[in-house]
Amino acid sequence: MMNEEKLLTVARYLEGDMEPQEKQEFETLLQSDAELQELKAYYINVHQSLKMNIAPDETDQQVAATLATLGKQHFKNEATEQPSPRVVSLQPYIKWLSVAAVLIIGLLVWAPWSANLYEKYTISKEMSVVERSDNGQNTLEKAADFYNAHDYASAEKLLQEVYKQEQANSLAAYYYGITLIETGKGDEARAVLSKLYDGESVFKFDAAYYIALSYVKQKDNSQALSWLSKIPQGSTNYDKAKELSTKLR
């Protein structure tokens, strides 16, 4: 076969334009023909290079969005910037710097603003039970009453019951997770919420948001940021998540 002819055969093979019989013959031929092998590799190379340029898929756009969000966080913030490479003698300032550092660390540990951030950025202040199921309806409604009265400990107990019976009940799981955060059980809350996040329920990204808030509450900002960044553009809490991210940095 001439090169041109071979090329077309390779193209037809890789584009799925061969009948089973011909395909089999081609595969046999391919094993012994080095030139054909080379052409095939070359074809795939060109095909893939082109594909990433002219047909980026959804994931490509999602990655670009993740990078854009993180880029904004990491490049626009003066406070976390590394010192410039120019060397300046710090000797005379060190004493004052250390005093300032102690003050700042003290502030960070105390972090009066973090607790407020949690309060300020909660999203599900009201729990409403719209769906009525035969089983557990009363419990859920009672739980909602406690929840809305901010009696999270009582709500938690009821929600735990429902959650244990119906693991698939995403509404119960979601609010159960929140009550756990409210009652200071961050780890348990995250266990419940991350299961929700891994699933495909409507609470998927709300769960991610609350996991982030649970870290805010514990002042683990880096974990909080990482969870906030999982909330994709276009979802309900995206703007809030973005705003909170900026405050945490």
């Binding site: 193209a11 082109l50 590394q82």
Partner: protein
């Protein structure tokens, strides 16, 4: 190829999977360095953010579509790519660089240079292929991009007003002529 994949391949895998925690780690480790270097070399923070994102996107694409395998540590690799990209950009904008090309990178291992060279080569190739694609006839371009977007062939045939059989045949022909063009471009050089 019998090359040894570096443990930092995990960053590449994280990128491909859009794993926000790992990508955040990448930013944490590298963003400040890229920023200070680019700002020191007459760029702005925005430039730095763009260059860094562009570099990561390129690495992502090469990993996803062409199974890039890292045989060197990730951090010097991505920093080197960013530096080269910025030096290219500077040339385009005719800004004078402060640091000479890579003179401050002497402590970087040879394997890192090799990996970064490879990425540059792939990028250049990619541009070449795209230029060849652009030279194809309208019909061919349409057929190739539709099919690469993963649309069902029957749908594409209908949209273009041709039969399914014709589309299949034409697609192979178009791709073959594209490859031929790229090959002859290569020998001309």
């Amino acid at each position: 190829m019998a090359k040894k994949i570096h443990a930092d391949q995990r960053y590449i895998v994280g990128l491909v999977n859009n794993d926000a925690a790992i990508i955040n780690e990448i930013y944490k480790r590298c963003a400040a360095k890229v920023k200070s270097w680019i700002v020191f070399n007459n760029g702005s923070e925005d430039d730095a953010a763009d260059i860094f994102q562009e570099s990561l996107m390129e690495v992502y694409r090469q990993a996803k579509y062409k199974s890039l395998e890292l045989t060197c540590p990730f951090e010097p690799y991505i920093l080197l790519i960013c530096k080269r990209k910025w030096l290219n950009e500077i040339k385009k904008r005719s800004i004078l660089p402060v640091t000479n090309k890579e003179e401050d990178l002497l402590h970087i291992g040879e394997d890192t240079f090799a990996n970064a060279d490879d990425l540059e080569k792939q990028e250049a190739q990619s541009k070449l292929f795209f230029a060849a694609f652009e030279k194809l006839g309208e019909r061919c371009k349409e057929i190739i991009s539709w099919s690469m977007k993963g649309e069902a062939q029957e749908k594409v045939a209908e949209a273009l007003g041709v039969t399914y059989g014709y589309l299949r045949k034409k697609k192979s022909e178009c791709m073959a002529s594209l490859i031929k063009m790229v090959q002859s471009d290569k020998t001309e050089e």
